[in-house]
């Protein structure tokens, strides 16, 4: 047991070591760790923000908001935020820089905001994309709970004249999907309620029975960061044809988390313009897990490894299950508060389930509430599939990087599992590493199926559920890191 903990700490240390090296080259790695440290609960309980820091936060937020609004071509709010920045004491240089950006937007804005296709043709193509998603949902059963509403939302949002996702005009209400998006997604409420429902449906028992498999849920998040790196590289090497900011790269990376609500939550905060493409990519690859993962799993393991039978899991007591969500939440508070909305709601759902004192709330969270929110969330995500945001080279990049993220996540999970099998007393079937990407419970079922092919007595489902649910936590933690550093 200790061995694996040491191993994990070692991995963290090695990565931290790399950080030192990088820091020499003038990049702000040291500062990155410092920033993370300053955003931990441990630090902040002892050093709460001073009024000066709070004011500085406000100023930074105002400047960021001004830049974002200029970039989006919203001239009126942009002006408001420039004024607000000045009032909060921004330097003259900053203000004049903002004003220059503002002037540029007025003069050249039209050129910046052009889609690849004329508006009408773009809408027509996007309606076909929506129909395609619906086809995949119905005929191929690709994550139909989400892809059907997303596809339908994509159709509705691209209907000319109707303005179903349009913001309000004077004296006229906004389109109804606009409300779904702003009230439910921009606020973060819908993905978080879904996460609560997921928590209420999740059994952490298999993880508690074999804690060390949580490492696999960490390893599989490697796909996230490789995709992030890939997005940065793509932006650099294509000379801006594909054009991603660091925020965009982070949002794209999270596709590798193989977890819908996490991906939607993070990208609604970092890159709302890419949200549609990212959500579609995430759910599509989650549906494709049974096709994407097996070849990688077979490539990286020998038949003997795949045939390994694992020791039956120990019984986990009720009290352990009740305490677990609270412990994880406390850990998250101490180490990474920025991940607490996600981890918190997941654990609230799980606590409602395991405590067995609020069964009616838990039932509702798992059924009517999650269903209502799923319909509305799907439509709202679809409302971000506007032609000018989706029909461009970036979307191709996102699809390619999303696939890469899944592949690399799967591979790193399997490889760490192989290593653990070498080091462990009890045998570990390397296949269960691939379940670390999450995509609950599909990835665990795939493990079971591939395991049975190699050995008809080999039931890996429950063993794979450990890394599987750990992967959900792992990607929520990764999202928290990204929020803390680039949010």
């Amino acid at each position: 047991m200790k061995k694996f903990i040491t191993m994990g700490l070692l991995a963290a240390a090695v990565l931290g070591g790399a950080a030192q090296v990088q820091a020499e080259e003038g990049v702000s790695i040291g500062k990155g760790f410092e920033k993370i440290w300053h955003e931990t609960g441990i630090y902040r309980f002892i050093n709460p923000k001073t009024p000066e820091e709070k004011k500085a936060d406000k100023l930074a937020a105002a400047i960021k908001a001004a830049e974002a609004e200029i970039g989006a071509g919203h001239l009126e709010p942009a002006l408001k935020f420039i004024d607000m920045s000045a009032a909060l004491g921004a330097s003259e240089a900053t203000i004049s820089d903002l004003q220059a950006q503002y002037k540029d937007e007025i003069e050249h804005g039209d050129e910046h905001h052009k889609g690849l296709l004329p508006e009408g043709a773009g809408q027509l193509v996007m309606i076909l994309v929506g129909l395609g998603l619906i086809y995949l949902a119905i005929a191929k059963k690709f994550e139909p709970l989400l892809l059907l509403p997303i596809g339908f939302g994509a159709i509705l949002t691209n209907i000319p004249v109707a303005g179903i996702s349009a913001a309000a005009m004077p004296g006229q209400p906004a389109g109804f999907l606009y409300y779904f998006y702003t009230i439910g997604v921009e606020s973060g409420v819908f993905p978080l309620l879904i996460f609560m429902g997921v928590g209420a449906m999740t059994d952490f028992g298999p993880l508690l029975a074999n804690p060390k498999t949580a490492l696999l849920g960490a390893a599989a998040q490697f796909g996230i960061f490789i995709a992030l790196l890939g997005a940065s590289a793509m932006s650099y090497w294509t000379g801006g044809v594909v054009d991603f900011s660091l925020q965009d790269a982070a949002s794209i990376g999270i596709i590798g988390g193989a977890d819908g609500p996490t991906a939607i939550f993070l990208s609604s905060r970092l890159s709302p313009n890419l949200l549609g493409a990212i959500a579609v990519s995430a759910y599509s690859y989650m549906a494709l897990v049974p096709i994407i993962q097996p070849p990688i799993m077979r490539l990286l393991t020998t038949k003997e490894e795949r045939a390994i039978e694992m020791k039956q899991l120990r019984h986990v007591t009720k009290i352990e299950k009740i305490v677990f969500p609270l412990v994880v939440l406390l850990l998250c508070i101490l180490l990474l508060p920025s991940a607490t909305p996600l981890i918190g709601m997941l654990m609230l759902g799980n606590l409602m389930k395991e405590s067995m004192v609020v069964d009616r709330l838990s039932d509702t969270a798992q059924n009517s509430l999650i269903n209502i929110v799923t319909i509305m969330l799907g439509l709202a995500v679809g409302s971000k599939l506007a032609a000018d945001k989706f029909l461009n080279a970036n979307t191709l990049g996102i699809l390619a990087l999303g696939l890469a993220a899944f592949v690399i996540g799967t591979a790193s999970g399997v490889l760490l599992a192989k290593l653990m099998n070498k080091l462990s007393k009890d045998q570990i079937n390397p296949l269960i590493g691939s379940a670390g990407v999450s995509a609950v419970p599909m990835a665990a079922r795939v493990v079971n199926k591939v395991g049975l092919e190699a050995n008809p007595q080999n039931f890996l489902l429950m063993h794979a559920m450990g890394p599987n649910v750990a992967g959900v936590i792992g990607s929520a933690v990764a999202a928290g890191v990204l929020l803390a550093l680039v949010g």
């Binding site: 700490l9 990088q22 949580a214 490492l215 996230i224 790196l229 412990v327 936590i473």
Partner: protein
């Protein structure tokens, strides 16, 4: 190049944090298992699940069982 570098930095910090978090979670799970094993007598497992399983089929079944028994006797 700057963007790439920052991506690399994010990767290093991100993976380190993810591993650190999950390692600490493993420690916590192991501690918790040890603790509750030691003090198991303080936390009796309520055998709720089997009871629930039996009643999952609803009262209808129990009534049906009773009825079937009655009928069978009479028959």
């Amino acid at each position: 190049m700057d963007l790439l570098m920052q991506g690399l930095v994010l990767m290093v910090i991100g993976m380190a944090t993810v591993f650190a978090f999950l390692v600490l979670m493993i420690v916590a799970m192991n501690r918790s298992a040890a603790f509750f094993k030691k003090f198991a007598h303080l936390f009796p497992e309520e055998e709720k699940t089997p009871a629930k399983g039996a009643s999952a089929a609803g009262p209808a079944v129990e009534i049906a069982i009773a009825l079937a028994a009655i009928k069978a006797k009479r028959g």
